[in-house]
């Protein structure tokens, strides 16, 4: 959205129109894709792709938009999942309640951690997110009576949605849960896309490129970055809750820092400069894991090579490649 958007805004109106059509097309494509997804793969994998897609989009608000390299997002995914899971396992199954709990706990933890570290820059910020992730991991790990420790939080029930006059709706079936995940996924795309294009997102992006100049223009950059951190944490928390609902268990490895690294993988593979990039990254990553693990017992080697090759030849990620071609096509069209 950086040089491209500048170039686009200065270009002739038809390019602008092209971009708008492009955005609209993307929205349709997203809805169509989530509808088709469960037809082409096991429904739990389709659900997971959307959950991790949400998680990756939230992470990309930090990485791609704000330029905050967080290697500790699994802490929020995990805490949201454990909080919602705890309620669901102990008889509180109201959907709005558990979603709120996940959203609030992810956001609250992010506010606490973010408040302490948001002013740290670059590698210091990165290492702090990593360290806090590990600390959260060890707390969850040791707090056995509540979290189940290394065995994970078990006995999570699916939530129930009580609608006045209509009755209550349960998500026990995997297809209805997929529907719920779809709705929340599309909602987060909508909200996050709006945020990125709002003045809030533009200031964050400006601060990514030149923090000092943005501050001197009068923007309170750390406060905005903190807000982004909290939003990312809250959305990750909801994603974590959905993950717990999917498998009815919240495993401890979902909080490990390796999970944070994997979500960064997804973002970078897919492409940081677009909304759908991280989603594509999540889909490809999860799909490749399944594919490679069937092909060869030493499959992480293939995954590692894939990552190295993508980073060498496609610096903008998979989506970067596609959108470069697209933009070139539009410009060519505009010239004609």
């Amino acid at each position: 959205m950086t040089e491209e958007s500048l170039a686009a805004s200065q270009a002739i109106p038809s390019v602008k129109a092209g971009r708008r059509t492009f955005a609209l097309l993307k929205a349709f494509a997203a809805i169509a894709a989530v509808c088709v997804l469960p037809l082409v793969m096991p429904i739990n994998i389709a659900t997971e792709i959307l959950i991790y897609g949400m998680f990756a989009m939230a992470t990309n608000l930090l990485i791609g938009t704000a330029g905050l390299f967080s290697f500790g997002q699994a802490a929020f995914f995990g805490v949201g999942g454990y909080a919602a899971g705890y309620f669901l396992a102990h008889g509180w199954t109201s959907l709005p309640l558990v979603l709120f709990m996940a959203f609030a706990s992810g956001g609250l933890l992010a506010a606490m951690i973010g408040g302490l570290i948001i002013r740290r820059l670059g590698i210091y910020f990165m290492m702090l997110t990593f360290a806090f992730n590990q600390l959260v991991y060890y707390v969850i790990y040791s707090w056995h009576s509540v979290t189940g420790g290394e065995d994970g939080l078990a006995g999570i029930r699916r939530p129930v949605l009580d609608l006045p006059l209509i009755g209550s709706f349960s998500f026990d079936d995997n297809r209805s849960l997929y529907g719920l995940v779809c709705v929340l996924f599309l909602l987060s795309i909508g909200v996050l896309a709006r945020l990125v294009q709002s003045p809030f997102g533009l200031v964050l992006a400006a601060a990514r490129q030149n923090s000092r100049r943005t501050i001197s223009l009068g923007y309170h950059v750390p406060a905005l970055q903190l807000a982004a951190y909290v939003i990312a944490g809250a959305v990750s928390g909801v994603a974590g809750a959905l993950f717990g609902m999917l498998y009815r268990i919240m495993p401890i490895d979902s909080v490990h820092w390796a999970a944070s690294a994997y979500v960064v993988f997804m973002v970078v593979i897919g492409g940081q400069r677009s909304m759908l990039g991280p989603v594509i990254g999540a889909a490809v990553f999860i799909w490749l894991q399944g594919l490679f693990s069937l092909a060869w017992t030493r499959w992480p080697l293939l995954l590692g090579l894939f990552v190295i090759i993508i980073m060498t030849y496609l610096p903008q990620g998979l989506v970067g490649l596609a959108s470069q071609r697209w933009m070139r096509a539009i410009k060519r069209g505009a010239r004609v």
Binding site: V40, I43, E150, G152, Y247, W287, L291, S293, T297
Partner: protein
């Protein structure tokens, strides 16, 4: 082994994001029983996965790959030793490959996570692992536990020590700081009181610890007769390696549930010598079924089987036996058959406790040999005792088994 299903699964997976939509139900063929081997081939337990798969494939092969005239196929998936991956693979195999039976988790955390899916999707899980929760707080009608109960393990091991080394009285315990270690410690206290040992100290270490000298310094200073390792796997291997560096030969190292035969090769012979270890399986077990298994395994892989292979072999063999017993390949019928069966398995005469789904089975105590006494490279130890005392039922926390 089983190349065709794997390749088919691979291709359908490859196609999944391609142009051709493969409907999930496609792989569910009528007239085929699909058994899953969901096992770690990467991660901390990477060594176990291939061995588990070998044992399972061998059991099926020796049974003619069919039961009651129905074809049986195995599908193998990598659980990475991670609960999240385990549940993902089990769920996926159940919905898109029609899997109804599965075995293979190596870590209890993975097995317990999968057990949740098993109860929900009505899949029969024949689990293994050190956690007593399988047959305790998190027991379920669809889950059976192959490995011995921690109580059985500690009782058998310490009974041997009491009988063979009557002068050894004091025990220092090193305990892994998670549920498994705590369960072992709990039963160590109970059994030590039963047999008259004195517990002189305990240290908890975090799971995955790679630095043990700080605990071992304390152990050596306390001068106990016995160092009891209530820890397992790579942690235990590392602790034993580092303890060997202290040269404290007068302290016996005892592991009730510490290292299975598969991992003994990880220690150099001089680190191993004299270790007293409880074993879920040892290739020397003297039963007709085990002799048949060892011979077939040795013929096919030119090696001795270990715990991982034996578990998978015996679990699949038992499932096939139960199907024949039930005269059905439907999960509920097989569960009912298992609950009332008694049979000659690899380990001896075996049955299932219907109240907990714990396999009632012997447990073995082995003593490691010095390098000079080893007849071949895998001749690590000899079986010196056998025990099968079940967990006292008043200590069991499995509430009533649900209806099917």
């Amino acid at each position: 082994m089983q190349m065709t299903p794997t390749r088919r699964a691979f291709l359908s997976y490859a196609a999944a994001l391609g142009a051709a939509p493969i409907l999930p139900a496609v792989a569910q063929k009528t007239g085929t029983v699909t058994m899953g081997v969901i096992t770690p081939t990467t991660g901390t337990f990477a060594y176990a996965g291939d061995l588990v798969a070998r044992g399972a494939a061998l059991a099926l092969e020796m049974h003619g790959s069919n039961v009651l005239g129905t074809n049986v196929r195995l599908l193998t998936r990598d659980d990475e030793g991670k609960p999240a991956s385990g549940v993902r693979r089990v769920q996926e195999a159940a919905t898109s490959d029609g899997m109804r039976y599965f075995i293979g988790a190596y870590s209890s955390a993975v097995g317990l996570a999968e057990s949740e899916v098993a109860q929900r999707e009505k899949l029969l899980q024949f689990a293994a692992g050190g956690s007593e929760d399988f047959t305790g707080t998190r027991c379920g009608r669809y889950t059976f536990q192959w490995s011995a109960h921690p109580y059985t393990a500690i009782r058998a091991t310490l009974e041997y020590v009491r009988k063979s080394f009557p002068q050894k009285k004091t025990i220092y315990t090193l305990t892994a700081d998670y549920v498994f270690g705590h369960a072992l410690l709990k039963y160590t206290r109970i059994v030590a009181a039963e047999l008259g040992f004195e517990l002189v100290g305990n240290d908890n270490h975090p799971f995955g610890e790679r630095q043990y000298t700080q605990y071992l310094t304390k152990v050596v200073a306390a001068k106990p007769d016995i160092l009891l390792l209530n820890t397992a796997g790579a942690d235990a291997v590392t602790a034993i390696r580092q303890f060997a560096n202290f040269g404290a030969d007068n302290i016996s190292v005892v592991g009730p549930w510490t290292l299975e035969v598969d991992q003994l090769a990880e220690l150099a012979p001089e680190m191993r010598t004299g270790l007293i270890l409880g074993q879920n399986y040892y290739p020397d077990v003297d039963t007709p079924a085990n002799k048949e298994f060892v011979a077939a395994y040795n013929k096919k892989f030119a090696a001795l089987p270990g715990y991982s292979s034996a578990y998978a072999y015996d679990a699949i063999r038992t499932l096939l036996l139960a199907m024949e017993n039930a005269n059905s390949v439907e999960v509920p019928a097989v569960i009912k058959a298992l609950e009332r069966m008694s049979w000659d398995g690899v380990l001896g005469r075996m049955s299932i406790d219907p109240n907990t789904h714990q396999l009632v089975r012997p447990y073995f105590v082995a003593r490691c040999k010095p390098a000079s006494a080893m007849r071949h490279t895998a001749d690590f130890a000899e079986i010196v005792a056998t025990g099968n005392a079940p967990q006292p039922s008043q200590l069991n926390e499995c509430k009533q088994m649900p209806e099917l």
